[in-house]
Amino acid sequence: MLDILVNLSSAILALTGLISVALTDQLNPFITMIGLVCIAVTLLLSSLSIRPQTYKMIPRSAWNAYIILVFIVMLLDIFWISGSLLISILHLSIFLMINKLFNLSTRKDYIQLFLLSLLQFLAASTMTNKLFFGFAVVIFLISATWALILLHLKYQISDNPPSPPFNKGGMGGLSGEKIVDLRFFLLTNSVAVAAFIITILIFFIIPRFGIGFMQKKSDDRLRTSGFTERIDLGDIGPIKLDNTMVMRVRIPDYNDSLKDRIYWRGVTFNFYDGRSWSNKLVQKFSPKINDRGEFTIREGSGEGGLYQEIILEPLDTTVIFGASHIIRLSANLPSIKEDMMGSVYIPYASFTRLQYSAYSKIDLISEEDRDLESASYPVFINKFYLQLPDGSEEIGDLARRVSSGSKTITGKIDAIERYLKTNYRYTLDVKPHGEKNPIEDFLFVQKAGYCEYYATAMVVMLRSIGVPARLVTGFLQGEWNEIGGYFTVRQKDAHSWVEAYLPGSDWVTFDPTPAILIEDQRTALSLLSKYIDSIRLRWDRYIINYSLKDQTEAIRKTREKIRSMEGGFQMIYESIKRYMLNIKGGITDISRISIRTVMLLSLYFLLLAISVYLYIRKGYRPFRLFPGTGADKNSQIVELYKKMLKLLEKRGIIKENNKTPLEFAISLNTIKEENSREVFELTETYYRVRFGQQPLSREEISRISEILQKIKKGPSPSPSWPSASRSR
C-alpha cells in the first residue's frame, strides 16, 4: 500500500515538473510527448500496483547504453538541435527522468527523481511569467510534500521493523497502513498550504529591488501599425481583425459619463500628401519633472485630471498611450520624450511589459468657442495645421457645401462630422484605389471605408474651410472589465480620429467614423474570460511586477489607516473625557492621560477579552490557571481514570492519595482483584497520555470504555476476597 503511494506520488511530482516546464512552450514537443507517455505508463503501472522496479523487462545494460546515448544526444542538442544550454539540459532531464521512473529501487533513486523534477520546476520559473505557473507552484508544493513524507515513512518503516511486544506501552512500531489515512493526507496538505502561505508572506514582505526579479523578456514585440512617423492610408485596416491584447488601463474614477469619450491617444500627424500622413514636427524634447517625480507633458495644464494606470504589452513602437490629452505621466523610466503635438515617446521600444500611470485632461469645447464665427489663429497653428495636398479643390467644394448651413466654427465642424457619419458606409473591405486619389475615391466613388478614410476626409475638409485640424491614431476605449475595473484594449480597437483647433479650448477631439454596432457580449463565456483576464492582470501586477515601490505604497497605506484609526480613537476619547468631566465635575484630571495610554489600555482590554473568551471556550488553554488539577488537553484520560477509581470505590477498593497509579494497579494484583489486569492496562494508557502527552486514539477510547464496562459489571460469581483490606 505504502509502496504504491510512494510510487504514485513520485510519478505525480515528476508529472508536475514536466508539465510546468512543457507549458513554457520552449521544449521540443516530441521529447515532451515521450516524457508524458512514460510518466503516464508508470502512473498506470503503480496504480495497478505493479511496482516499476519489479517490472524488469529491460536489462540493466540496456539502461546503461540508454544513458550513454542520451548524453550523446544532449551534445548534439546543445550545438545543433536546440542550440541552447538550458533547453538541452531540460531535454536531458526528461530522458534521465524516464530512466529513474522505471528504475526506482533505492532511496537515492527517488531523491534523484525528485531533484530532476525540482530542476525542471525551477527552470520553468525562470522561463515563464504566465499565470499557469502560479497553479503549478501550488501543485508542486503539495505533491513534493506528499512524495517526501511518504518516502521518508517508507524507509523509516523498513529501517525500523515493528518492535517486539515488550515495548508495547512505549513507542510502538510504525505501520504504514496505520499511518497513511485520510487524516495523514489532510495533515500533509496543511503543511504544504502553510508553507505556501509563509512563502507568500515572505514574498510580499522581503524588500524588493527595482522591478520584479522574475520579469522575463518576451520573445516578440507585438507588431502594430499606424504608430510610425509616416503612415500610408490603409495601414490600420488589416489589424482591425486582430484580437490580440495591447494594453490594459485601470481607471479608479471611471463613471458612465466618460463612456465613449475616452480615446487612447498615440501618434499625431499634421502633413498629408494625398496618399500618406507624416509628421513634420518631428522635433522631440524632454518634458520637465515636477516635485512629485512626474513628467509634465503639457505645461501649464494645472493639477488634477483623470488618473489612469496603464499596462502596455511590448510593442514595436516607442509611442505610449493615454487618454487624450495626457498632462502628467509617471513611469519607472529614466527619461521620456514628447513632441510638439502632445504625443509621448519612450527612449526605445520595450521588450517587457511597460507599466505607467498618467493624468489626462478630457477635452471640452469652451462656451466662448461655441459662438465663435471666425477666428484668427496663431502663426504656428496656421503654418502647420492648414496644409492641403494638391488637387483637393473638389473636396473643398464639398466641405463648403456641407458646412454652409451653420455660421459658427463649431457648427461647421459638427456639420462635416455629421455628414461623414451619416452618408458613408463603414467597411473594412475597401477596393484598391489604383491611380485615383484615395480620399476622392472614398468621398465620391466608393462611399465606404473605415476610420482612416473618415478621419482623413474630415481633416482635409476642415482645413479647406480654414479650420486647423490634424489626424490622430490610437485606440478606442476597448472593453470594460467590470470585475477588475479596467479597460482591455486590443489590436482591433486601433482607430484614427480628428483633432481640430479652437482658440479657447485648444485641441478638441472629433470622430467622424460611425459607431459600429457591437453585439452585446455579456454571455457567460465572456464573463468567465473577463474573470480570467482580471486574475491574470493581478498575477502580473502583484506577483511578476511586484516591486519595492508597491511595498512602500502598502506600508504607507497601512500607516494612513492607523492614523485615521488614531483619529477615531481621539474622538472617542474626547467624548469619554467630556462625559467623565460632566459626571465628576472635573475632580480627576484625566486630561493628563495621553491618547497613547488610552490606546494601550484599550488594546490591553481587547487582548484580555480575547484570552478570556478563548479560555472559556473548551479545548484551548494558552496557560493554566490551576496547575495540577489536570484541567488541560489530556483531561479526557484523567476523567476516564477518575471514573475507573469511582467504579472501584463502589466495590470498596479505594486508591489512597499517596499511592501512584502504578503502585495501585500492582497492589490490586497482589490482592488478586478480578479486574487487576484491566486496571493495569488502563493505568498504562493513562500514564502514556497523561504524562507522555501522547494523543488518545479512537481505538484506545473504545478499549477504555470496554474496560470500564467490565469493571462496572464487577467480579464474576464469587467475590471471595475482602477486597478493601489490602488497599486500605
Binding site: N167, N657, T660, P661, R688, G692
Partner: protein, 313 residues
Amino acid sequence: MKNMDKIVLLQKNIEQAIKGKAEVVKMVIVTLLARGHLLLEDIPGVGKTTLAHSLARSLNSTFKRIQFTSDLLPSDIIGVSVYNQQKNEFEFKKGPIFSSIILADEINRTSPKTQSSLLEAMNECQVSVDNETYRLPEPFMVIATQNPMEYHGTFPLPESQLDRFMMRLSLGYPAEEDEKQILLSQRRVLPAQEIFPVLSSQEILELQMETERVAVDESLIDYLLSIVSATRTSELLGLGVSPRGSIFLYKTAKALAFIEGRNYCLPDDIKRLAPFVFSHRVIINARLESFGKRGEDAEKIIEEIVEGLPVPI
C-alpha cells in the same frame, strides 16, 4: 545500535562483576546519565570499589583511582606547577583529576582541605590553579566511597561536599544465592578486570543529551516540590533539601525514565528516587539523632515523608 540497547549493554556489563545488585547498578547509570556524582557508602567488602571500577572499565574513557589517605594534599589530586629549567618557566603538571571517571576511594579518610579541593571540579567541571582555569574532560564523574562504620582517623564530609553528590547509594549484603555465585566465579583475575569497554565517551555524551529531552509534566514538578518543602518543614529533620537537591531529583527522574525506555517521567520515578537523592542532604533533628547509622535513618525518614504526600492524578 539504539539507545535502549546501549543502556542494557552497559547494565549487563557491570552486572558481570556485581552480582545481584541490579537496582544499585541502575541507579549508578541514572547518575551517569544525569551528569551527577556518586557517593557509595557502605561497610568494607561489599563491592563499592568493584562497582566503581566496573563502571569505569565499561566506558572507553580515562579512569583514575585516588586512594584518599590522611596525608593526601590537594596538589596530589589537581596537579602542581613545576619549574622547567630549559624553558625557564613554571609548567602545570596535570593531576589525576584530569580523567573522565574518578574513583575517590575512602574519601572520608583525608583532611577537609583535600576534600574541598574536589568542590570546584565536581560543580563546574573545571579546576583553577595559579590563576589559570582548566577544563576537565567530559563526561566527568566522581565516584566516592566511604565507610560509615569506622570513625577512627576519619573526617566526616562537610555538608557542602555532600550536597554536591547527586546520589548516595549503599550496596548492602548480597543475597545468599548471589553470594554463592560470587564465590563460584572467583578466579585469579579480579572480576572487574575482565570487563571490556562497551560505550565510548562520545556515546555517553549523546545519551546524556538524549536524557535531557525527556518530558516532565508540570504536575510532577509540583509533586517534586511538595516533597522538597515537606523536608524543610518536617519536625524530624533539622535541615531540609537544598534547591540543588530538587534540581538533582528532577534530573535523575528524567534519567530513570530514559533508562526505562520512556520519553516522559512518571510520579513513580520521583517517588522511587527521592530517598536516594535526598537522604544525604538532610540532617536529622538533633533531638532524635541516633549515633552511627545516620544514613539509613535519613532514608527512612524521607520515605515516610514521601508516603505522606498525595500523588498527582
